[in-house]
């Protein structure tokens, strides 16, 4: 990407789709499932897809792929509840477990047969693996890890916004004269829509003609993660997070103490992880996890964009920082300019006193 002055369109784009590309219609969401369990990012995307499809006045479709069985049927019904009007279903024993080759072939063939203008996938390990392969096979544009999706009212193009320059700025990317326009979005970046179980839709079966002996890669084993000790940041309702502004590793204990008082999780900025103050699985931000808590308390975090995109979905943000010019104060709800070593313990005492009161 070139050096660019910000806040100005870089170039006037000319998009004039030829007849073949004009045939691409509708918004698709790839519904990701592993061993029958749908990844929640798929429903978050369905919520976004609904909004885009309404604006374009086109259909919203889900794509479900997997081994034949009742799971796929249930996934289609769930997709309807989350807003889809139609589901393409590809059932094959070859698709029982995720592998790049059969999934790429099946999805590519489906796109070529039914021609969507927009195709959205979750930015998971599976979604990124698949999206990169499908986009290259189709020779079309793909924008990874979008934090915002919109439609340009003038030319009906998908405007995909994502962090750039290592998360220090945002950029909006468009796909020129190629279709479909593809984008991935990370889990928890978009809100989860409310399902409406009474909604129904049309299931369209697609025969992908996959044969196991054609597929070179074999899954020998799947070793599930042990969930016990892993922090559950994406679903925490209260998070206290620390950054480089804490000064030194020992001061992180104030973050842990406040999180304990509040019964919340502990998060951290990239800088704090790189300093080795806390383990990498607690990183919040573009290269860490995306969170949507009710309350996010940021202590000593400057608020670079790569951090912001991971936590601005919080309902309420309290920022504590020594530096009154820290960018985090531009998007926090409450600001305390002060020393975290003093502010965090005081907050702990105040919250503890409130939580100890008898409920009325």
């Amino acid at each position: 990407m070139s050096e660019a002055r910000t806040d100005k369109p870089i170039k006037k784009r000319k998009i004039k789709l030829n007849e073949e590309l004009l045939a691409y219609k509708g918004v698709w969401v790839f519904i990701e499932s592993e061993r029958g369990h749908v990844h929640p990012v798929s429903w978050e995307l369905m919520g976004q897809g609904r909004r885009l499809a309404d604006q374009l006045e086109v259909e919203l479709c889900g794509v479900v792929m997997g081994a034949p069985g009742p799971d796929l049927e249930a996934q289609c019904q769930a997709a309807f509840a989350y807003g889809a009007e139609r589901c393409y279903r590809i059932a094959s024993p070859v698709l029982a477990e995720y592998r790049n080759e059969p999934f790429t072939r099946a999805l590519t063939d489906l796109v070529n047969a039914h021609k969507p203008e927009i195709l959205l996938l979750g930015a998971t390990t599976l979604g990124r693996d698949l999206a990169g392969s499908v986009a290259t096979t189709l020779k079309t544009g793909l924008t990874a890890d979008c934090t915002e999706l919109a439609i340009d009212p003038e030319d009906r193009c998908l405007l995909s916004t994502r962090p750039t320059f290592g998360g220090s700025l945002l950029c909006t990317i468009v796909t020129l004269n190629y279709r479909p326009q593809m984008a991935t979005v990370r889990h928890r970046v978009m809100p989860m829509p409310d399902p409406q179980p009474e909604r129904t839709g049309l299931i369209v079966d697609f025969e992908a003609g996959l044969i196991e002996t054609d597929i070179v890669t074999k899954v020998l084993e799947f070793i599930p993660d042990e969930q016990r000790d892993k922090p559950q940041l994406p679903y925490a309702e209260i998070i206290v997070a620390g950054g480089k502004g804490l000064g030194k590793a020992e001061n992180f204990k104030h973050v842990w103490d406040l999180a304990r008082v509040l019964g919340g999780e502990v998060g951290a900025s990239r800088a704090a992880i790189h300093a080795g103050w806390i383990s990498a699985d607690r990183q919040v931000g573009q290269t860490g996890q995306t969170v949507r808590p009710v309350l996010y308390i940021a202590a000593g975090i400057s608020g670079a964009i790569q951090h912001r995109v991971g936590m601005e979905g919080a309902d309420c943000i309290i920022a504590i920082n020594n530096d009154p010019g820290a960018p985090i104060f531009d998007f926090a709800h409450y600001a305390i300019v002060g020393d975290c070593k003093q502010v965090l313990p005081a907050l702990g005492r105040t919250f503890a006193a409130y939580l100890a009161q008898q409920g009325r």
């Binding site: 998360g167 468009v174 190629y178 070793i223 990239r270 998007f331 709800h333 305390i336 502010v343």
Partner: protein, 288 residues
């Protein structure tokens, strides 16, 4: 074994700053480094060479100064380095980049058949994770992304077994060579280059390929022209309409500020109040 490692020279993003007035990226003085994720690919390639013998070629597309990244890779023990550089490549997105690198790997394959292509799971500047899968599709290589461990490679049987990070667990996969692997972070630790390798790297010639040497067949597939996506706008996100409410903090009387904050919070954010009240009720039950 001939292993090609694709790397990228990136600005050390931890040191990028945005100019507070003009909102432009200030790149002066920001050091250029090998994309940290690619170091795991280099180390994995060198470990395989230690074990099985053969040759490691390191490959990058970039401006002439990207040669520094290749020299660094040679100092770790890579045998050969190729810089694919041409003015026509400027503005390439991930699709165009994968076309250039795939062409160069095909050319390398003609010199000396390639068994394995390794790269990092993504770069720290683009963060797309798209170029690896793109190269694999173009060269029809078996694709293994987010690999946490190369379990074993059997050059005679042309097979490779890896552990791959998947959602909710680890897949153990077996496939055929030639394959393309993107390596996960933390899968190994890059070695210190030996003294002979350091001296060799200092004197070594990095091969420079333009579009012809790299074997680019179709120049409409590279650079801006070959890129389906364009950046239409770069910007700093807007501040909230309402500025953050400043709570004055006096270190001599710290709880005055925190109590004022709690009162505001309870009054203005009913969802936060509800969450705290739930915690309080749960704590009360435990005490009873």
């Amino acid at each position: 074994m001939h292993i090609v490692v694709c790397i990228k020279q990136v600005p050390d993003s931890a040191q990028i700053r945005v100019h507070p007035v003009t909102n432009t990226i200030m790149r002066q003085g920001v050091p250029a480094i090998i994309n940290p994720y690619d170091l795991f690919a280099i180390e994995a390639a060198l470990a395989l060479k230690d074990q099985l013998g053969g040759k490691v070629t390191v490959l990058t597309m970039g401006p002439p100064q990207a040669e520094a990244a290749l020299k660094k890779a040679l100092s770790y023990g890579c045998d050969d380095a190729v810089l694919v550089t041409d003015k026509l490549f400027a503005g390439s997105d991930t699709l165009a980049t994968s076309y250039v690198l795939a062409s160069a790997i095909r050319t390398l394959d003609q010199e000396n058949p390639v068994d394995l292509v390794l790269t990092g799971k993504q770069t720290i500047d683009g963060d797309t994770a798209q170029v690896g899968p793109g190269i694999a599709r173009r060269l029809k290589l078996e694709l293994l992304t987010y690999v946490s461990r190369i379990v074993r490679v059997d050059p005679a049987a042309r097979s490779i077994r890896v552990e791959r990070r998947a959602e909710g667990g680890v897949q153990v996969l077996e496939t055929r060579l030639p394959a393309l692997i993107t390596m996960l972070e933390g899968s190994n630790e890059i070695r210190f280059g030996s003294a002979p390798d350091l001296f060799r790297a200092a004197r070594a010639q990095v091969r420079r390929w333009d579009r012809n040497a790299a074997g680019i067949e179709d120049i409409t597939k590279v650079g801006l022209k070959g890129s389906p996506t364009i950046v239409s706008r770069v910007f700093v996100p807007s501040s909230r309409a309402r500025k953050a409410l400043q709570i004055g903090f006096d270190p001599a009387n710290p709880e005055v500020a925190t109590q004022a904050l709690l009162d505001k919070l309870l009054a203005e954010f009913p969802k936060v109040k509800k969450e705290l009240d739930n915690k309080r009720a749960a704590a009360g039950e435990r005490h009873e």
